[in-house]
């Protein structure tokens, strides 16, 4: 479509305005706000879509404010082969006038004119494209909706090398989609008639299966009936046979039971007979035992009586023996008394003799002790008389030694006078003459002044030095000490002291010797008494003397002989002891005899009581035997035993006979066999009853079945199923065909779109490079949406782009479409004051794009900021001025 001319009259604020557009290139319509730019587009849309009679608010609102006039729009345009002028007036004096200039002149008015234009546009104008190629000021910066455009599709098809079918393929897809959706939901599930058919099929199948089961049930019943009938007959036969068995076994069992009762009676009789036999035999045994017992007891009594007689003799003998023992004891007692007196006197004599000997011994020792004591006293005196003891002597010697030491030191320290005789000479040294042989020397210390006189020749005096004075003092001090000590010791000199000490030592030795002897003497007699041993000794002597004095020791016959006396005493003692032991033996013999007698007497008494007891028991036994014999005689008992034994044998024979017959009757197995036979009958009757019951119910069911016509129902159900199957098969085939057709078409459309994306992207890229630079690229999907922009190697999704970039891409996309679409199918690109987000540099570049694109398309730009589009070199500029009437303008100004 191309817009050649547009005229508005009394349309909103516009009183009258006419714009003429060049066929190609950019037209920039500029004007201030409120001047009515957007009204131009609105007027064009109303002209093409609304009838002159329309009263829609969109139509009513275009009436100028405050003026009761109709609003008029007239456009001259060409589309497809047509070129026409079209005018409408709404609201007042409505009118529609169409004048077609090409290809054939036509003149229409009113509704036919409107319809004709609608028809022309429907045939030639791509409505989708017409709307898509507008870029409105107020619209959000979204993608250009291009996929619905047949013209674009055709163009792209052409570009992609496809046959141009003028959108028929797409309308075919729509038709197929409709057909598909008749039987499928959007998600591909069966719906509508197909779903009903499938549901009906499922239901019919279920009904057929049910009917089939019903028929099969009947068939099973028929078979069951036959089986049951046969079983009933068979069971009845079995039951009769089993009943016969029961009768037979029952009779046999009763006979066997009677036999068993008899056998049990015989067994009881046999037991009784044996018991009687046992009793009689026992009775006989008891009698025999009783007789034997009586005999045994008689023998025992006579034996015991004999024993007692022997015992009586023994007792008598022993009593006589005891009397002898008594007399002998008395004699021996007298003998012992006499020996005792003799022994006592002999011992007294011996004792006195002993005491005398002791007194002598003690007296001798006392004398020795007293002598030693006197010596000890003498020795003590000697010691006391010699005062120099060992300590005193040591003090003197020490002092003497100290003097020697002092002198020695004095000598050592003093100068020494050395004399050497060159020839034998005689000298006087400190007054003492000294003969010296030739070559002989002498050395003299000079502690004191020394004088050497060589007679006749020379006197030499040598004086010690001052150092010798101290040493001289020491010597003097030591000599003073020695002198003191010697005074203490009472001696004139050291040798004197030594002699005094020797005297002392001898006295001390004497004293210790005497004391030791005394101690030894006393120790022999003293024991351990604390008392003075000598005193103790004296007391013993005194005591002995007193004891002997009482007896008159001085008067006693002088002891003839100690040994003799002691011998006599010992002999008397022995005689006494022997007399005593003789008495003791006699006493023991008598006691033994006494004991024996007592034992024999006890024995005798026991024997006598045993005889009495045995006699009493014998009496008892004899009485019992007599009583028993009174009841039954011994001979009768024997015959009874024999009779019972024969009865026992007879009863056992009877029992054995009956048991044998019972065994022959097989009685043990009869009972379980009978029970089993009865169980068999019971079970058979139960089985029979069960079968008959089931047979009755099967028969009843079959009677009912006969009137139900189940076969008919099955046939009907199968017929219905076949119909449903045919129906669903038909619909399924239809649905499958639609599905396959749809899928195939859609996949080809996808494929085809993929192919024509390329030319579109090429155009966008070509134009985009002018704006964004030579490294610009875009990614476009099958719906011709721009997915992302790539620039300087960076890819950004469309939605993430800046508003400016989105806006620029929006214009580029539209211009690319316009450039692609065939001239015949093209529509004007309408840009209503876009690019508000773009910077001046970009604006310049977009201007260049507009120039390039406008070479093959009509581009109409409406703007209130003409600067934005200054850079479109080839632009044809139309300036709008406010042409409202002055009064109106004033009003507007006042209101504003």
């Amino acid at each position: 479509m191309r817009l050649h001319r547009l005229r508005l009259k009394d349309f909103r604020g516009t009183v009258e305005r006419e714009l003429v557009f060049p066929t190609e290139g950019v037209v920039v319509v500029e004007g201030a706000n409120e001047v009515g730019k957007t009204s131009l587009l609105e007027a064009l849309d109303l002209l093409l879509t609304e009838k002159d009679t329309s009263t829609k608010s969109a139509v009513r609102s275009v009436k100028p404010v405050g003026r009761d006039v109709g609003s008029e729009v007239e456009a001259e345009m060409s589309t497809g082969p047509y070129r026409f002028t079209y005018r409408k007036r709404w609201n007042r004096s409505t009118e529609t006038v169409l004048t077609v200039h090409e290809p054939r002149a036509e003149q229409l008015t009113g509704v036919p004119a409107h319809e004709r234009v609608r028809q022309i546009l429907a045939d030639t104008l791509d409505d989708g494209l017409w709307k898509a190629l507008r870029m409105m000021q107020a619209a959000p910066l979204s993608q250009v909706p291009l996929s619905g455009s047949g013209a674009l599709t055709a163009a792209l098809d052409a570009a992609a090398g496809e046959v141009n079918d003028g959108g028929r393929s797409d309308s075919l897809v729509e038709a197929v989609e409709r057909e598909y959706l008749r039987l499928h939901t959007a998600t591909g599930r069966p719906t509508g008639a197909l779903r009903s058919a499938l549901e009906e099929l499922a239901a019919a199948r279920q009904r057929a299966e049910e009917a089939e089961r019903a028929v099969e049930d009947a068939g099973r019943d028929v078979e069951r009936h036959a089986v049951l009938s046969a079983e009933v007959v068979e069971l009845e036969g079995s039951r009769a046979a089993a009943a016969h068995d029961v009768r037979d076994l029952s009779a046999r069992w009763e006979a066997a039971e009677e036999l068993r009762a008899r056998a049990e009676g015989a067994a009881r009789a046999a037991v009784d007979a044996r018991r009687e036999y046992e009793r009689v035999r026992h009775q006989r045994d008891v009698r025999a035992e009783l007789v034997a017992d009586a005999a045994r007891r008689e023998a025992a009594v006579s034996m015991l009586t004999a024993t007692v007689e022997v015992q009586q003799e023994s007792v008598k003998g022993t009593a006589a023996l005891l009397a002898g023992h008594d007399s002998r004891r008395e004699a021996l007692q007298a003998e012992v008394t006499a020996a005792g007196v003799a022994a006592d006197s002999a011992r007294a004599a011996a004792d006195r003799l002993e005491d005398l000997a002791e007194l002598d011994r003690l007296q001798l020792r006392l004398d020795r002790v007293e002598r030693l004591a006197a010596r000890a006293e003498e020795a003590e005196r000697a010691v006391t008389a010699a005062p120099v003891d060992a300590a005193t002597l040591r003090a003197v010697e020490d002092a003497a030694a100290a003097v020697d030491v002092a002198i020695a030191r004095q000598s050592g320290a003093a100068a020494r006078l050395v004399l050497e005789a060159l020839t034998a000479v005689r000298v006087t040294l400190d007054g003492a003459e000294v003969q010296l042989a030739a070559g002989e020397g002498r050395e003299v210390p000079v502690a004191e002044p020394v004088e050497v006189l060589v007679p006749d020749l020379l006197r030499v005096g040598v004086l010690p030095g001052s150092a010798g004075d101290d040493l001289g003092d020491s010597v003097r001090e030591a000599r003073r000490v020695l002198t003191g000590r010697l005074a203490d010791a009472g001696a004139d000199g050291v040798p004197e002291a030594r002699r005094l000490h020797e005297q002392r030592r001898l006295a001390e030795n004497e004293l210790s010797l005497v004391r030791r002897q005394l101690a030894e003497e006393l120790a022999a007699s003293a024991g351990k008494h604390n008392a003075d041993p000598a005193e103790l000794l004296r007391r013993q002597v005194r005591a002995l003397r007193e004891r002997l004095g009482a007896a008159g020791p001085e008067d006693a016959t002088p002891a003839p002989d100690g040994a003799q006396v002691r011998e006599e005493a010992r002999t008397a003692q022995q005689a006494h002891a022997s007399a005593r032991s003789g008495l003791d033996a006699a006493e023991a013999a008598r006691a033994g005899c006494r004991e024996q007698l007592t034992a024999q007497q006890v024995e005798l008494a026991r024997g006598q009581s045993a005889v009495q007891a045995a006699e009493a028991e014998l009496g008892d036994v004899r009485a019992r035997l007599a009583t028993a014999r009174e009841q039954v005689a011994d001979a009768d008992l024997d015959s009874r035993v024999e009779r019972c034994a024969s009865l026992v044998a007879a009863a056992a024979d009877e029992e054995a006979l009956l048991l044998r017959r019972l065994g022959e009757a097989d009685a043990d197995s009869l009972r379980p066999r009978l029970t089993n036979a009865r169980d068999v009958v019971t079970r058979l009757e139960h089985d029979l009853a069960t079968r008959q019951q089931e047979l009755a119910s099967v028969t009843a069911r079959l009677e009912v079945v006969g009137s139900l016509g189940r076969q008919q129902q099955l046939d009907d159900a199968r017929t219905a199923l076949a119909v449903a199957e045919r129906q669903s098969a038909t619909l399924t085939a239809r649905a499958e065909a639609a599905r396959l057709l749809r899928e195939t078409l859609l996949s080809h459309r996808e494929e085809s779109r993929r192919q024509y994306v390329a030319p579109y992207r090429e155009q966008v890229t070509r134009l985009g490079r002018i704006v964004f630079g030579s490294d610009f690229a875009v990614d476009v999907d099958n719906e011709l949406r721009i997915l992302s922009r790539t620039r300087s190697g960076t890819t950004v999704p469309f939605d993430a782009l800046s508003s400016g970039a989105k806006e620029q891409l929006g214009i580029i996309a539209r211009l690319a479409c316009a450039a692609i679409v065939h001239e015949r199918d093209g529509v004007p690109v309408l840009v209503d004051d876009a690019l508000g987000y773009s910077d001046p540099e970009r604006l310049r570049r977009v201007g260049a794009v507009l120039s390039v694109a406008a070479a093959s398309a009509q581009v109409i730009v409406l703007t209130c900021t003409p600067d934005r589009y200054r850079s479109v070199g080839s632009a044809h500029v139309i300036s709008l001025r406010d042409d409202r009437r002055p009064r109106e303008a004033e009003q507007q100004a006042l209101l504003g």
Binding site: G706, G709, T719
Partner: protein
């Protein structure tokens, strides 16, 4: 003595491929044939009608079928003997003991429910071999003829089942042994053996006295010579004379037709047009060949149009093999182009293949043809 021998009436049978209109007419035809049998019996001066088994389709047919059948039998003026067969055995559920049957049975209708002889006139006997269960374990006919004397009585054996000479299943204990039957014929104990079970009219063996009458009204496509009954003329001392009489009114038809050239379609149309009594004809078409999209649409039209006339007109799926191709400009003539061309090519390739997929692809092409505005 003249005897009308028929069998396999299958009263109450339904055919699921018949639609709601044809089914009642078919059911009715099976009852009406009974009346025609009666009329024929009169016309041919028959003394009795013998139905050798499968009188009813099942022991479980509806009481209405029973009462309507008996009503038809009531119109038959001669005695009618019904033999229980494998479809209607004389078992616990037997139709012959149902209240519906017993209460409405006319006196001249007899059920041969016990094996053995039934006198039907002076010197004439029927020897029945009824089925007592669906699976007998012996040759019922052999049992029935065993021990029959050749005493001058003219005997007609009434049997049902497959004869071993025809039957493929040699293991079936219920097979009728032709040897036994022919031996009985040879020794003069029996004179005619009337059989049922086989729906095709058939003379068995070489004696000329052993016959299947076939069903009087066709029940399936594979039946040979159905729709007839036999009239048997019996007399002591001579062979029975058997004549065939048509009573059936329905036909089951199989048609093979190749569709390769455009003029094959009118030929098919013509063939179908020539079929008589279409409303009583059940036809099954085995079509093979290759069709253009337009011809395919024409075939669909043809079948729909002829289907209205026939009692049933169906494609025999198993034997039908049609493929559809897109001829030249069929679709471009309709203005289909653009990417749709690619889709058409793909579908056409699919349609030339085999199996389910090809059928679906053919349908898809046909649909495309229709949606694109193509005409048959």
């Amino acid at each position: 003595m003249r005897l009308l021998h028929t069998a396999d009436w299958q009263l109450g049978m339904t055919r699921h491929f018949l639609d709601a209109d044809a089914q009642p007419r078919y059911t009715d035809a099976r009852i009406q044939v009974v009346r025609r049998v009666g009329e024929l019996a009169v016309a041919e001066r028959c003394d009795a009608v013998l139905v050798c088994g499968d009188v009813f389709e099942s022991n479980l047919v509806s009481p209405r079928v029973v009462s309507r059948s008996l009503e038809a039998l009531r119109a038959v003026p001669v005695p009618v003997y019904l033999l229980p067969g494998n479809h209607d055995p004389i078992d616990a559920a037997s139709i012959y003991r149902s209240r519906a049957f017993v209460s409405a049975k006319p006196d001249h209708v007899h059920v041969l429910d016990q094996p053995g002889p039934y006198p039907i006139g002076d010197g004439f006997e029927l020897v029945a071999a009824p089925w007592t269960s669906k699976h007998p374990l012996c040759d019922l006919v052999a049992d029935a003829v065993a021990g029959l004397p050749a005493d001058g009585t003219v005997r007609v054996v009434a049997g049902h089942g497959c004869v071993d000479a025809l039957g493929p299943d040699a293991g079936d204990p219920a097979l009728i042994r032709l040897g036994e039957v022919e031996a009985a014929l040879a020794r003069g104990a029996v004179h005619y053996v009337a059989l049922g079970d086989r729906h095709s009219r058939t003379s068995v063996g070489s004696s000329g006295a052993v016959w299947y009458s076939g069903t009087p009204e066709v029940t399936d496509y594979d039946e040979v010579d159905p729709g007839q009954v036999l009239v048997v003329d019996l007399a002591a001392g001579r062979r029975p004379e058997v004549s065939t009489h048509r009573v059936g009114t329905w036909a089951f038809l199989d048609l093979d037709h190749r569709l390769d050239r455009p003029d094959n379609l009118p030929e098919l149309d013509e063939r179908l047009g020539l079929v008589p009594d279409k409303d009583r004809t059940v036809a099954r078409l085995a079509l093979t060949g290759t069709l253009s999209l337009a011809d395919r649409a024409r075939l669909d039209d043809l079948l729909e149009r002829q289907g209205e006339l026939f009692a049933s007109l169906r494609l025999w799926e198993r034997r039908t093999e049609l493929s559809v191709y897109v001829s030249g400009d069929e679709l471009t003539d309709l203005g289909v182009g653009g990417f749709a061309d690619g889709a058409v090519d793909e579908l056409a390739a699919l349609a030339k293949g085999g199996g389910e997929e090809a059928v679906v692809a053919q349908d898809a092409l046909a649909l495309l043809y229709r949606l694109a505005g193509g005409r048959a």
